[in-house]
Amino acid sequence: MSTAAVTDKRPNSLRSGHLPKWSPWAIAGGSVVVAAGIGLGAGLSSKVEWGLIAAILYVLGTFVIATMVEGKRQAKDRVATSLVWVAFLIAVIPLVSLIWTTVKRGVKVLDPYFLTHSMGIVADSEPGGGIYHAIIGSLEQVGLATLIGAPIGVLTAVYLVEYGRGKLARAVTFFVDVMTGVPSIVAGLFILSLMLMLDMQPFGFAGSLALAILMMPVVVRSTEEMLKLVPNELREASLALGVPKWRTILKVVLPTSIGGITTGIMLAIARIAGETAPILLLVWGNSFINNNPFSGAQQALPLYIYQQYANSSGSTAAYDRAWAASLTLIAFVMILNLVARGIARWKAPKTGR
């Protein structure tokens, strides 16, 4: 026993045995084959179970083989590596499945007719109808929310970065952080409590107000980060030329960081475009076209998806519409994201580093 312990300790990583480079792949392949064997033998129908068995075998196999050949420390390292890979693969599966299902089932009814017609009198369980009313509603509500939320957010960020000293700035910073965590349904309830007090009926702009509340902290955070990236030399150069501070901010600081600010705003728009809960409480939904966000119930894409799912009692036509609307919504959000990132890369401030 004692001699074994001594000989175990002596070899260092330079002299001890090494597994060949292909060994992780070999172990992975082996564990998949064994897992398939077990799965077939035990009659497990679910492929998910096969995968989990394979993952466990892979981690265990790596540990055992590496301990035998390379020693404890290397084995731990290899186990960590394999765990990280397994975690990555586990996470990828649902995410890929989500995108794949949405695209596959979404394209079924997604055509120009679907995009240019409202539901009208089409019953939830019947095929036909479209999302035109929902697109109009979403665009108006999100647009109005952006008109309110973006300027306030940017100005607050300017205050925090350019002027913010003392208690007020610290309070604002703290509450912006807190506000980021306000659930969307709470923002909806807040506006709802106002509407209850003023005895108002649901309408689109109420939803916009809730969305604006959700948007502001996101815009503040991202704009703040961008303004902090602007080199101080630029501000000092401008101030040294005698330019007033407000003109320095408007003409030097904001233009320098405009790319990042736009990106932040677009990402915030992408976030609020998918919010359902406040719309459900405040805008109600409507199967007809209502172009006026200031009066009467409207529809919005996320709410449309929910209602097609929830009110249809399992009709395939409604599910198809829900998937198609999901695909439209995801496409909208993704395009916003891609464009925003494009702008960020194109207009990135030159920090000189």
Partner: protein, 335 residues
């Protein structure tokens, strides 16, 4: 413009005598433009504070209306009958469901998210990590209702196998017993929430791991550490506060998540020991599901439950901030 050419000094004194006279010498902002701009930006900062205060005040007011009429115990009643007179409702079931589903989500999501963040920063081949990080970014933007639709129509049918297995081997614990009904239960909700908050936790953790000083890692490597030891000794200690804040962000989202829970869960108003049998509810889900049929009195009751949710998320976020602030003082490096 001619004013600006006259000021040769930096900011403090301005050549406009009227403005300089009115304001104290210590104030640097005495031009009208400056004052207006400062007023605007400070005003929007104050507006944010006012909105937060207004949320608290209005929710509390409406909630107090509802709770004063409540004939049950608001904290312990296992009932939500708001349309009868007098109404009987309580939040015990909702609080339980919210905590359980969020705990499941965190237990599943945090380890995997940290692993993915490590994968992206330290393990993945360089050619792979860029696109994968990009995909994770995009997935963070997928609307929750789409997750909900996917969860209800794709994830739920796939849970039967797992539920059966859990029931066979762990059913004796009571937590994993299953009566074979549709798997629209707290565990499914927790798994779906875990998937939803995964991208956020991953993104924030990744940013933190990326900021680990190269020197620390190289020093560890130079001492002969394996890659795992580098991560354990240099990367994780540095990133701990970041990971905590990322997890709290995820937790906040899981607590307040509405639509995904509302589509997947088949709710009732009881506390179940089993995570696999359908039933239970969360604050947000209950608001969304009960809102349609609620009278004004019922809406006030829902607002009261929303107030509790608001307070919980405030506490979670405040705690996260406090942890980060304290960690920052100790770790000399902050980003």
């Amino acid at each position: 413009m001619d004013i600006s050419t006259k000021t040769t000094d930096a900011s403090p004194p301005t050549p406009q005598p009227a403005a300089a006279g009115k304001r104290g010498a210590a104030r640097s902002t005495s031009r009208p433009g400056d004052r207006i701009f400062l007023g605007l930006s400070r005003g929007s900062g104050i507006l944010l504070l006012v909105i937060m205060a207004a949320i608290a005040v209005f929710l509390t007011y409406r909630a107090s209306l509802a709770i004063s009429k409540d004939h049950g115990n608001f904290l312990t009643s296992f009932e939500w009958n708001t349309n009868i007179d007098p109404p009987v409702f309580g939040i015990a079931v909702l609080a339980f469901g919210t905590v359980v589903s969020s705990v499941i989500a965190m237990a599943l999501a945090v380890p995997i998210a940290v692993a993915i963040a490590l994968f992206l920063t330290h393990y993945a081949p360089r050619r792979m990590s860029g696109p994968v990080a990009y995909v994770v970014d995009l997935l963070a933007a997928v609307p929750s209702i789409v997750y909900g639709l996917w969860g209800a129509l794709v994830l739920v049918p796939h849970m039967n196998g797992l539920f059966g297995w859990l029931n066979d081997y762990f059913g004796w614990t009571g937590i994993f017993s299953w009566d074979g009904g549709a798997p629209r239960s707290m565990l499914t909700v927790g798994i779906l929430l875990a998937i939803m908050i995964l991208p956020i936790i991953t993104n924030v953790s990744r940013e933190v791991f990326r900021q680990v000083p190269q020197m620390h890692e190289e020093a560890a490597l130079a001492l002969g550490a394996t890659r795992w030891e580098v991560i354990r000794m240099a990367v994780l200690p540095f990133g701990r506060s970041g990971v905590i804040s990322a997890s709290m962000l995820g937790l906040g989202r899981a607590l307040g998540e509405t639509m995904a829970v509302a589509t997947v869960l088949s709710p009732d108003f009881d506390i179940h020991a089993s995570l696999l049998n359908p039933g239970g509810g969360t604050f947000a889900q209950n608001i969304a599901s009960k809102f349609g049929e609620a009278t004004e009195q019922g809406r006030d009751a829902l607002i009261a439950s929303g107030l509790i949710l608001f307070v919980i998320t405030l506490l979670v976020n405040g705690a996260a901030r406090a942890i980060i602030a304290r960690r920052k003082e100790y770790s000399g490096a902050n980003a």
